[in-house]
Point group: C2
Chain length 134, copies 2
């Protein structure tokens, strides 16, 4: 069912500093910052040959990564995003196995403008998993 | 400098249960378990089209993931592994930027039988980074 690893999302307290670490120390190609106010984050994309790393900084009130950074102020890996072909079929299969989908259970429009769902980290070894219909 | 994301490593308290979650709930292709006593882990590989996820369970005394699981008993993402062409050149460049290499600073033989180094998570937004000479 799951396909490509679409991205690894890392919450960072200082996006400019994190960009410089990835560009300078790690020698990676990093995009300019993109503000996504409706998602409560500013993001840069670290482009790797086979996938991407998304560095996320909180933006505005009620950012979905604010609580995470309050617990882990130096930052950390926030979630993994796996691609699926059919997000409703994936959801129904997952729910059938007892896995919990966060929120209402209905897909929302993700940061890439595609339907996404998040799975409860307690059902997957403490890992927050995003599913994105590719 | 960094190339492909070689793998994402997730520390899990129960490898059989984690395998079943990835095979059953997420419908992924998961290898049989491989014991790596010299690395203190038993691993399964979740094969995705573009990279892999490694699920790690502690093996024996002094497992390098035992302390992590003591802090986070339900498991969690342990490290990201980026490929590099020349690990000594990568190390020297990183040290020149002020980044800290863990241990002696000399590459060791990793779980894939290739030279690896680990970078201090405090220098990279709380993310433990493994570099592997591909």
């Amino acid at each position: 069912m799951i396909g490509r690893l679409n991205h690894v999302a890392i919450a960072v307290p200082d996006l400019a500093a994190a960009t410089q670490q990835y560009r300078g120390a790690l020698g990676a190609t990093v995009s300019d910052p993109i503000a996504l106010p409706s998602h409560g984050v500013t993001v840069v994309f670290v482009e790797l040959p086979n996938t991407k790393i998304e560095l996320l900084e909180p933006l505005g009130e009620g950012s979905p990564i604010a609580a995470f950074l309050a617990r882990t102020p130096s930052g950390g890996i926030h979630h993994l995003c796996y691609e699926v072909d059919d997000i409703l079929a994936a959801r129904d299969h997952l729910v059938g196995t007892g896995a919990r989908v966060l929120g209402s259970g209905e897909p929302t429009n993700g940061a890439h403008d595609k339907p996404v769902l998040f799975l409860h980290p307690k059902d997957f070894n403490g890992t927050l998993i995003e599913l994105e219909q590719a």
